[in-house]
């Protein structure tokens, strides 16, 4: 898929080889997006975005260089190729020489997510009308602030490699987010939730937004009266969303092979060793119901289902072509870039805990004292893979005593250890749910990419909880 008006990308591959690149990758991206934000009934933002750009990665004498441009005239793209070769040579001179594994041979691959109603064709007035209707439902609740947002993106990427492969992927993702603030007697609480899907407008039309909005409002109002959880160590039952956050932060990043090779992961050298309870199996896969659509990565490698942990034993890291070559293993299709302007990093795709056989209600019934952690309203998490600590927040959650949810608690933050927390998993549910978001994603070295995460309900026998 050449960008309009620019040279054929295959000519750029040949140019790079003529300039001395032993491997060359050309990455072309087109992205269309829309954002509408209704802020207390006022349309704060209504805009459409168009992105077109091209990136070139060159392996020159073992040094990896990269250059990008969104000026797509012949002169600019040729300069990008020349700069990619120049930066590769600069690394070869004084930096690390690397090898790249081969993703193929697979010839030409093309993937496209499915949809039935193109969101870009839906009139703006219908989109704004939906936001206004939801605002109208919530306005009588006496909330201090109601923000309703709609976002849509269509992302098309094509990767051409000097090894002869060409891979392209296109997806549409749409979502709606509601952010609420409730105040009473000088105290305020906020709560935000969203639903996104790799789909077209049909998802927005079919989803029942009224109960979604109303339940969120009830929860934020109730949380005003809730105490903060007393800091300490608790048994923790996590819902699907919270499990997704847990696994993404607690394990996902530490299993990214570029972090492992840098010496920055506590999982280094542990393949084949027990790192979690034998109830825990963790997978990372490119396409799964409810998740992001990532059948290929941004090096053009088909994304395979990667079993990271199998019954508690670390089986694999997540790889790019570079890390796979260095570790002498197969690439897994996890090299991703936020956009054409970025070099690839090893990233998760859709990561989740495989289901077990507990029912969530059984898990709660058999918890003497703990916290039922709800992921809705979480503000996210972070990990330090070298120290081995991770953290994430939860939304309004429940204190559990003698098997019953006793009352709402707020302000929950969880702290754990990459090497210890998953060993304390003593129950894994059967109710797998994976979700994604068009409003955010995972951040690493300044790049944000869309991801999916989730799992069934899980219980951890002890975790540090703050509030």
């Amino acid at each position: 898929m050449p960008a309009e008006g620019s040279p054929d990308p295959w000519d750029l591959v040949k140019l790079g080889e003529r300039l001395g690149a032993e491997r060359l990758r050309v990455f072309v991206q087109r992205r269309y997006s829309e954002v509408f934000v209704l802020d207390n009934g006022v349309l704060r933002q209504a805009s459409a975005g168009y992105v077109t750009g091209l990136g070139v990665e060159a392996l020159v004498e073992g040094g990896l260089g990269y250059a990008s441009t969104n000026e797509l005239d012949e002169g600019s793209v040729k300069r990008a190729v020349e700069m990619a070769v120049r930066t590769g040579r600069a690394v070869a001179r004084a930096g690390r020489k690397v090898r790249l594994a081969e993703a193929g041979p697979f010839g030409k691959l093309a993937f496209s997510s499915t949809f039935s109603s193109e969101p870009a064709d839906v009139d703006v007035s219908e989109k704004v009308g939906l936001l206004t209707w939801i605002y109208g439902l919530l306005r009588p609740r006496g909330l201090s602030s109601v923000t309703v947002s709609l976002a849509y993106e269509k992302d098309e990427r094509t990767v051409l490699s000097s090894t002869g492969e060409e891979a392209s992927c296109s997806y549409r993702m749409v979502g709606l987010s509601i952010g609420l603030v409730a105040c009473s007697a000088g105290s305020c609480e906020s709560l935000r939730d969203q639903r996104s899907m790799v789909a077209g407008w049909e998802f927005v039309k079919r989803f029942d937004w009224a109960p979604f909005a109303e339940e969120l409002a009830e929860t934020v109002i109730a949380s005003l009266r809730a105490p903060h959880v007393e800091p300490g160590r608790y048994a923790v039952v996590m819902d699907n969303e919270a499990v997704g956050l847990l696994i993404h932060e607690a394990f996902g990043h530490a299993s990214e092979a570029d972090i492992v090779l840098s010496g920055g992961s506590v999982l280094e050298g542990l393949v084949g060793r027990a790192v979690a309870s034998e109830l825990v199996s963790i997978a990372d896969t490119g396409v799964v119901e409810g998740g992001a659509f990532l059948p290929i990565d941004d090096e053009g490698t088909p994304k395979r289902r990667t079993s990271i942990v199998e019954k508690g034993v670390l089986r694999s890291y997540l790889h790019s072509l570079r890390t796979a070559a260095e570790m002498g293993t197969e690439p897994t299709g996890n090299a991703r870039a936020a956009s054409y302007a970025d070099q690839t990093l090893v990233r998760q795709t859709n990561i989740f805990v495989e289901p077990g056989d507990w029912r969530p209600e059984e898990m709660l019934r058999e918890t003497k004292r703990g916290v039922y952690v709800k992921g809705r309203g979480s503000r996210g998490g972070e990990v330090n893979t070298l120290v081995g600590s991770f953290t994430f927040t939860a939304g309004p959650s429940y204190f559990v005593e003698n098997g019953e949810a006793r009352g709402l608690v707020r302000g929950v933050i969880l702290t754990g250890s990459i090497l210890e927390t998953l060993k304390r998993v003593d129950a894994v549910g059967r109710d797998l749910v994976v979700s994604t978001s068009v409003f955010g994603g995972c951040g690493k070295m300044g790049q944000t990419v869309r991801v999916g995460d989730g799992g069934p309900h899980v219980r951890v026998s002890e975790m540090v909880v703050g509030g």
């Binding site: 309009e4 006022v42 990008s68 120049r86 690394v91 920055g264 972070e382």
Partner: protein, 441 residues
């Protein structure tokens, strides 16, 4: 791209008002892992945003890449505006109410750096770390990232605003491993000084040596000394958004209606300063073309005002403060700080540490950005801390979380602010000695 033509065509096609915002960046990025430079990349891109108003309906289009059919872009923006709902508070795009101050936000040393220089810089910072580690243990730069270059912003609108700003950006972030410990440091500003970056590398090694065999501590309520960088983190995430006039107007700030009241300790003065020499947030104009100003929203604990975009200033009947900044080219400018400055007090982190009867000294955290400025709830997990009793360090600490109200921490719970200011990443803050911090361990 002839932006004046774009503006005039937008008006010709039916917009009552129009605004064009162009942002460009040209620079390089280098990555080092495990002591060796691994990748270098060159970045060059220009993004354009067109916003139009038809009456009080506003719509926008952002473009990164070839514009193609200019007319189509304009018609799309106008179509979005026509289909939008009216904002009764819309007062138009910004007027140029004043000239921006004379500031220094461009360092030609940044503009002169090429990819080969970045490779050399990273080689030097790796060597510096190893040198500093001699006698302490095997020190290695586990990861380092430098991103630098020249940015440009141009804003023009149908009300006569036409400003252009050129600025430089330099950020180096690195993490050093030392035996079984580690520490991260950064240098982020508009300036580029090799010695400064090398000192960051050495500093990370010295700090890493303090946190070997870190363990959690018992849960409880503690006195806590926060390092200057941690003070910046918590104020930026749990407090500053409450000073946004938009959040005040839209029911998302606990400071609404409290101008003239004491909201923090009288030890605290919070300044928004766009004039600091060669710092990240230093600018003469904001993203609407309004001249920036130095201001003290909080003076000795008392709230004096908020930071404004043009829209919020008009809505509140106040002077624009030059704080309207955008996340993307066609988005509405939102009020946010330029550079955060907290006026220093007296004493240093080491003095406060000696004064701790039983408490923690927190040097680094993860997750501080999950703090909630609506409720004022500050929270994070400590990755690099020290447990102190009777002024003596008992053990390094990691794996605990700290929570509390930012209004308590920097209000009645504030014992002292230090004089040991650290200026980095657009914030200039001292250490703080705080009582009543909840610790989960």
């Amino acid at each position: 791209m002839n932006v004046r033509k774009l503006l005039s065509e937008a008006l010709r096609e039916g917009a009552n008002e129009a605004e064009v915002f162009v942002v460009g960046f040209k620079g390089y990025e280098a990555t080092t892992t495990r002591g060796m430079v691994e990748r270098v990349s060159a970045i060059e891109e220009t993004k354009l945003g067109l916003r139009v108003a038809i009456g009080k309906r506003v719509g926008g289009v952002a473009i990164s890449g070839p514009v193609g059919d200019l007319g189509e872009v304009i018609r799309r923006a106008i179509s979005i505006a026509r289909s939008s709902t009216e904002d009764v508070h819309w007062a138009g795009f910004a007027e140029q109410t004043r000239r921006g101050p004379e500031v220094r936000c461009y360092d030609k040393r940044v503009a002169e750096v090429g990819p080969e220089d970045l490779v050399d810089l990273h080689r030097l910072l790796v060597e510096r770390a190893r040198e500093e580690g001699r006698g302490l243990g095997k020190a290695e730069v586990v990861g380092a990232l430098t991103r630098l270059g020249v940015g440009t912003v141009r804003v023009l609108n149908s009300r006569g605003v036409d400003v252009e700003v050129e600025y430089t950006v330099h950020g180096t972030w690195l993490e050093v491993g030392l035996e079984d410990s580690s520490f991260a440091a950064s240098r982020v500003s508009a300036r580029f000084l090799v010695d400064d970056v090398l000192e960051a590398s050495a500093e990370a090694v010295r700090k890493a040596s303090m946190f070997r065999k870190a363990k959690p501590v018992d849960s409880g309520v503690y006195e806590v000394v926060l390092a200057p960088e941690v003070v910046a983190d918590f104020l930026e995430s749990a407090f500053l958004p409450a000073l946004s006039a938009l959040n005040v107007l839209e029911g998302r700030s606990p400071l609404a209606g409290r101008v003239g009241q004491r909201v923090l300790s009288e030890l605290v003065t919070v300044i928004d300063d766009p004039t600091l020499e060669l710092e990240s947030g230093t600018r003469p104009y904001d993203d609407e073309g309004v001249g920036t100003t130095r201001k003290e929203p909080v003076s000795r604990g008392e709230l004096w005002g908020f930071v404004h975009s043009y829209y919020t200033a008009m809505r509140m009947g106040e002077e624009p403060t030059g704080n309207g900044f955008r996340g993307s080219p066609a988005s509405s400018p939102m009020p946010s700080f330029t550079n955060l400055v907290v006026k220093p007090g007296s004493g240093r982190l080491e003095d406060f540490t000696r004064d701790l009867r039983r408490g923690l000294v927190v040097y680094a955290t993860i997750g501080h950005w999950t703090s909630d400025p609506v409720s004022g709830r500050a929270r994070a997990t400590v990755t690099h801390g020290l447990l102190v009793s009777g002024g003596e360090v008992l053990q390094p600490v990691a794996g605990v979380n700290i929570t509390g109200s930012v209004y308590d921490w920097f209000g009645d719970g504030l014992v002292a602010l230090g004089s040991d200011v650290v200026t980095n990443e657009g914030a200039s803050t001292p250490s703080a000695f705080v009582r009543g911090v909840r610790v989960g361990g």
